[in-house]
Symmetry: C2
Subunit: 397 residues, 2 copies
């Protein structure tokens, strides 16, 4: 009398948490300060102080009945205007505030969009591996199929030929995540341009719009002084899913949005369908206090300097020890090649107090994801543990 | 290439909002102060001040990285302990904090529970009319069937014989809402006792657990000095869905929970299945700031005095004019019998500046729902408009 598929989904071990307990079980023996937990993608820097002060001001000065009441289902209009003003000025788009549906983070945004475009149980969603492990849970939970397409080592950029070959008549959408969790790759403009051509051609060939779902919660976490190639600028039939979890360091507060640009050819049907799907999921809106504080703070982001420092410290240290790593251009993740099966590698590392996630959980075995969102001191002090891990492999015959 | 069922759900007009625009379109002619909007169930009193001060304190004093980070998926442990301590002391239960999954309001709670217990497309959910209109959207959106069973006029208490006759082998759950939106009824203990016997017998007869899903966001809005008969105390296989929208006046902030008591015979499977369903919906958790502020404030509720006053003013005035109303014992809603088809009645009322929701949208035609959560002055000044509405019917031949 309980759904088998939901039970399975609820008992499946997240690859992100798989070695967490094993690692921390060593705390007594090694000392808590010698457990280096790189497993969780939780921000390590505070929200911008202006945002914090605005939250307090609203709680101190505004009419509390009006402040905390229901927002319109698609979100607070002034918040959405602040968001589109910011996006339009930074990326040269012409989004309208009415293009946005506020959601409780990116996950319900993606879930609602996928529900809204599902027209048959044979529909498949193309995923570019490595991809965020939670995508699988949502896709499978909704009864959709995954179409996995690998990106190219060593920089995990798009394998455009493979994408062109893989897309088929059942492909409802391609779910893109740039900057990418877990690789930290930022897909270059020329690749997005060619991807758009492929999607357009395949849409025509199969007589259905293949949507580009652009999940971009790491957009504001660029670690190089480069511009972010904004996927919606390359392909009309794009749907943007966003979360403020990382950019404002409010992962626990649950605020994000779906943005369906006016240029999207199916917008008129798709917008209400996403609203309908959110309704069926019971997902209405992001917390209104956090929405309203955004009105004056839409252009702000948390400081990324710590993530850049940690990346540089660990990239330099690990490569000098002989690890193969790809230097991430954005996000707070770095992929490191493993010296045996990635789960066995994680298990050995955890037993030495080093905790990270095996990339087999992200559709790309043979690597681990090291989350760089840790205190600077943790990153620096972990170097010895990484050396002991490497040594443990070298001592083997 | 867009889901027809989700499009339909997203374009359906909510009965609550159906006459909103028509009513407000009269503002220029009648004056804004003569539009009496009783349509929306949004709290009209502020959150308890101690809760507001605790939100500010957290934002001023706590480590902002730790404060806003991801909570564990089922919620903040200390918050859940505060909730179960409060429930256990008030209702004499023995809930464990581990029985709770925090959610972004009651709607995602109900959606996740229904997904978790859906084992076949023929599964039906029993609803006791009148019922909250959004239940239909969630049930139909999830591909489940509705089994509507009417309650008894004039007090809208359970029709136990009808329930006994209606439950069948496809009934997966009965969704109970006491105190009830829109009727304001509180189901008496003796009725809940007999309901439990019926559910138990029918579960045995059909060889499947019929769950009692108790949606109780109005539990703290008792308007009489009576104890609330707590449904979980009557039937083991209960699942509680709750929202703080009304009790803490934070409808826009999205905080609620699912509670699966240890006594529930399917708890071991159901708890992970609800977690899995929440995962598929992308629904993880309530905003963590509001959760953490609850640790010290779990026993607090907003003041219900305004709702009681408005009820008394309108009940007395309307009945003295000849309207047939049922005096609600709880919630901030009152049902009023209509003098013609309830939609036509709402249309006529809206054209005179009186806005409320037709109960045909709540499965009980022939009534309207008057939301009593308005300023005291609005309730008092609306009396003349109610009189004009009544007069307009009396003047007809």
């Amino acid at each position: 009398m309980v759904s088998g598929s939901m039970y399975k989904l609820g008992t499946a071990v997240s690859p992100i948490r798989a070695y967490y307990e094993l690692g921390w079980s060593r705390a007594e023996e090694l000392g808590r300060e010698n457990i280096f937990d790189f497993s969780l993608g939780a921000p390590a820097v505070p929200m911008p102080d202006a945002y914090r002060r605005e939250l307090i001001r609203l709680l101190e000065e505004e009419d509390q009945v009006k402040l905390h009441t229901y927002a319109p289902h698609p979100g607070v209009p002034e918040t959405k205007k602040a968001i589109t003003d910011d996006l339009n000025s930074r990326f040269g788009c012409s989004f309208d505030p009415g293009d946005i549906i506020m959601t409780a983070g990116a996950a319900p945004a993606i879930s609602a969009v996928l529900s809204a475009i599902k027209t048959s149980p044979s529909d498949e969603i193309a995923l570019l591996a490595p991809y965020f492990s939670e995508y699988s849970a949502i896709i499978e939970g909704l009864g959709l199929k995954k179409l996995e397409i690998k990106t190219l080592e060593p920089d995990f950029h798009l394998d455009l030929d493979a994408i062109e070959r893989a897309l088929g008549p059942d492909t409802a959408a391609l779910l893109l995540n740039s900057p990418n969790n877990p690789s930290g790759a930022v897909y270059p403009a020329e690749d997005l341009k060619r991807l758009a051509e492929i999607l357009k051609n395949k849409s025509e060939e199969f007589g259905r719009t293949i949507f580009l779902i652009s999940d971009e919660p790491y957009r504001e976490l660029m670690l190089e002084d480069e511009e972010f190639p904004f996927p919606a600028n390359f392909y009309d039939d794009t749907v943007i899913c966003y979360s403020y979890s990382k950019s404002l360091s409010i992962a626990g507060e649950r605020m994000g949005y779906v943005l369906i640009p006016g240029a999207n050819g199916e917008r008129k049907k798709l917008f209400p369908a996403v609203m309908g799907a959110a309704r069926a999921n019971g997902v209405s809106n992001a917390p209104v206090l956090f929405q309203k504080a955004l009105i004056k703070c839409a252009g702000l982001s948390s400081d990324t300097e710590l993530y850049r420092k940690n990346r540089d410290v660990l990239y330099d240290a690990l490569t000098s020890m002989g690890y193969v790593c790809t230097k991430p251009k954005a996000t707070f993740y770095m992929m490191v090649k493993t010296l045996e099966d990635d789960r066995a590698f994680c298990e050995r590392a955890a037993s030495m107090g080093l905790i990270f996630a095996p990339c087999s959980g992200f559709g790309f075995p043979g690597y681990v994801r090291v989350a760089l969102c840790v205190p600077e001191d943790t990153a620096k002090r972990s170097v010895g543990a990484f050396r002991r891990l490497m040594d443990s492999y070298r001592q083997e015959p």
